[in-house]
Structure formats: structure tokens, C-alpha cells
């Protein structure tokens, strides 16, 4: 055979890539230990190793079946899916600005939904109290950009409502305003705004926003992989301690 047999450590790494396995890792360790302990009962070590390989194989197959498709990390480099399809919800009461921001975002390879008021934005997100959360689980918004000064509810109030909701509080909210009022900017940033853009918004602003969001996502991905690595090491060291 040309292919090298995987080491135990490599095996552990492979197991750890299946996130659903981790709650059951004690179960797998139990299996491994039981099998290895059979070496005390027989001298036929090659039979034992064959048996353990078989059990290991079937555990891997089981894990494979349980693995959720969405978390196939081999091709996906970001939780956004394809980086081009950043879905932005834009909120502005000015029709000129809506036309402008929509084009700006389209040119920047974003999917855009534009609404003319904060109330409509809440309706779209299903946060207006008239809808149950059913049907909005598939709504994948990656960014919300809202004008500050709007009749009725301001962009600031809209952002507060979004941050109050468990479904959408993680979505970055950017506030846009034609007025350079420092206390206003501070207040927005303190309330959790991702950024505050002075109007007129430029292509460079959107590009900078996109880059920082994708970078944040890349960091999150790296953290997940690092965590996986640590969990794999954990399994491996437990195996070693059990003198396998």
C-alpha cells in the first residue's frame, strides 16, 4: 500500500472536524480503551489492531453521517458562504439616496434590499411584533446600513431595536448621516454601531466596510479551526494518558 496509515493524532484531528462528535467524545474514548485493553487477553496483537481499525472505521462512518452539511469546512472559507453575496439591508427615507446606495452596493458585489423607513426595515426583519419568528430563520442579512435622520423612527432607534433582538443583534449596523455631529457619532458607536459614515457615501467607504467585515469573518473562521485543533489535541492526550 502506498498510502501511509494515519497516525492516532491524525485520526483525532479527523474526528474533531465532525462537530457533532465532540459531545460524544467520551463515548469514543471508551470504545478505544476497551478495544486496546483486549491486548491483555490475547497475544494476537494483529487481530486486536485489525479489530480496533474496524471499530474506528465504523465510528468515522457514523460521524460522517451525522455531520451537518453546512459545516463542511473543506471548501467554505467563510460563514457568509460565497464572499460575493454579502446581503445588505439599506434604510433611507430619501429616494435619491436610496437609488445611490443601492447602485453603490450592487457595484460592490452585494445583494441589496432597500426600504424607505425604519418601520419597513423592522417589518422586513420580522421585528415589528406582527409576525412570529417562523419564516425569518432563512433571512440571511450580513449588514444593515441606515440613515440617521428619518421621520418617525431614527436610524439610531432602529439600531437599538435590532440590538435588542436575539436573532439580529449580531448583524453589524452602520449609520449614515450628512451631519458631522460628534456627540451623535459617539452615541451611535457606544450603542454598538459597526461604523458611522458621513454622507455623501463613497465607493471607498463601502469597500472599506466590506473588507473589514470579510476580515472579521475570516478571524472567526480561524478561531473555530483553532478551537477544533485544541479539542483534537485534548482527545489525543486523553488517549495517551489511557496508555493506548
Amino acid at each position: 500500500m502506498d498510502r501511509q496509515k494515519p497516525t492516532d493524532r491524525q485520526r483525532c484531528l479527523r474526528i474533531s472536524r465532525f462537530p457533532l462528535i465532540l459531545p460524544y467524545k467520551s463515548l469514543f474514548l471508551h470504545f478505544f480503551c476497551k478495544i486496546k485493553s483486549l491486548t491483555f487477553l490475547t497475544n494476537h496483537k494483529h487481530i486486536i489492531s485489525l479489530l480496533s481499525s474496524l471499530v474506528y472505521r465504523s465510528l468515522i462512518d457514523m460521524a460522517d453521517v451525522m455531520r451537518p452539511e453546512k459545516l463542511d469546512m473543506s471548501n467554505d472559507t467563510s460563514s457568509l458562504g460565497s464572499p460575493e453575496l454579502l446581503h445588505v439591508l439599506a434604510v433611507d427615507d430619501s429616494i435619491v439616496d436610496r437609488k445611490f446606495i443601492e447602485r453603490l452596493l450592487r457595484v460592490s458585489s452585494c445583494k441589496v434590499t432597500v426600504v424607505d423607513s425604519a418601520t419597513r426595515a423592522l417589518q422586513y426583519l420580522g421585528l415589528d411584533g406582527n409576525h412570529s419568528s417562523v419564516g425569518f430563520e432563512d433571512l440571511k442579512i450580513n449588514l444593515i446600513m441606515t440613515d440617521y435622520s428619518m421621520p418617525g423612527m431614527t436610524g439610531y432607534e432602529l439600531m437599538k431595536k435590532i440590538k435588542e433582538s436575539s436573532a439580529f443583534r449580531e448583524i453589524p449596523v452602520v449609520i449614515m448621516s450628512s451631519e458631522n455631529i460628534l456627540p451623535r457619532i459617539d452615541r451611535c458607536l457606544e450603542e454598538g454601531a459597526e461604523d458611522f459614515l458621513l454622507k455623501p457615501v463613497k465607493l471607498a467607504d463601502v469597500k472599506r466596510l466590506r473588507d473589514s467585515l470579510l476580515k472579521a469573518d475570516e478571524m472567526a473562521f480561524k478561531n473555530i479551526m483553532h478551537k477544533r485543533e485544541l479539542q483534537a489535541n485534548d482527545i489525543y492526550s486523553q488517549l495517551k494518558r489511557a496508555k493506548i
Binding site: S94, F100, K202
Partner: protein, 154 residues
């Protein structure tokens, strides 16, 4: 001959734009608008500017009606209309219109009625100047497209 037509028209367009930038009628935001126009949205600048014209004329009419009323006192409403005008003018790069709207807004904040009337006149003047210039620009662009079309027959 036809080639010269296209080049001459392009030169006219460039001269007009340079003059408008020089006068401060337009600023670099207008260039942003042009950057957003391409084959997938070939009339973007034309479309946005027309939307701007529609909106602005509605606001200007409303402002005139408010101020013409002898018993006028709703300066706050004037302020709101002007905020919209300032915002949309700056979004398309109409710098001079934006600036005179800001001056008008200051007068409204002081509840100064004669100041507001003067402010409105100045805004209307600047707005109409911009509109005429944009119409001239669009006409030149249209002519250039036609000239280019004739030059490259299908």
C-alpha cells in the same frame, strides 16, 4: 468626418464638465456617480439626476407655498425640507445648490422670514442653473452616442 463629430462632442462635454467643476457647481461626488455607471447600468447618472430633479422641485414648490402664506410660522417644516435638499444635493455632487440650502437653513433656524424668502430665491436660482447645465450635458451625451452609433454601423 463622422469621427471628428464624436471627438468634438466629447471635447465639448469635457469642457462643460471642467467649467462646472471650476465654478463649484459640481464637486467630486458627481465623479462618484459617473463611476457607478457602466454597461450594466448605462443610464445611471441620467436616472439619478432626474429623480433628484423631481424631488427637488416638489420640495421647492412646497417651500414657496409655505413662505408665501402670510400667517406662516412653521420654520421647523422648512428645516425638514431643507435637510432633504441638502442631503440629496450633496449625494449627487451639486455643491452650490447644497451650500445655498445650508445658508437658507440657517435663516430658518433664526425664524427670519425675510431671510428665508431671500434664501429661497437664491436656492431657486442655483437650482435652475444646475438643471439647465445638466440638460445641456445630457444633450451633448445623447448627440455623442448618436454620432458614435453612426460611426460604427451594425
Amino acid at each position: 468626418m463622422l469621427g471628428l463629430g464624436v471627438d468634438r462632442l466629447q471635447a465639448d462635454i469635457n469642457r462643460l464638465l471642467t467649467s462646472l467643476f471650476h465654478q463649484g457647481v459640481l464637486d467630486e461626488q458627481f465623479l462618484q456617480l459617473q463611476q457607478l455607471q457602466d454597461e450594466t447600468s448605462p443610464t445611471f447618472v441620467y436616472d439619478v439626476i432626474n429623480i433628484y430633479f423631481d424631488e427637488s422641485e416638489k420640495l421647492l414648490r412646497s417651500l414657496r407655498l409655505l413662505l408665501m402664506d402670510r400667517e406662516f410660522s412653521d420654520y421647523k417644516k422648512i428645516g425638514l425640507h431643507l435637510n432633504q435638499l441638502v442631503g440629496s444635493s450633496s449625494s449627487i455632487g451639486a455643491r452650490r445648490v447644497r451650500n445655498v440650502c445650508v445658508a437658507f437653513r440657517s435663516a430658518s433656524e433664526l425664524n427670519n422670514r425675510p431671510g428665508c424668502l431671500r434664501g429661497l430665491e437664491v436656492v431657486e436660482h442655483e437650482y435652475h442653473y444646475l438643471k439647465n447645465m445638466m440638460h445641456e450635458l445630457f444633450q451633448l451625451e445623447q448627440q455623442r452616442l448618436l454620432a458614435a452609433g453612426v460611426r460604427y454601423p451594425m
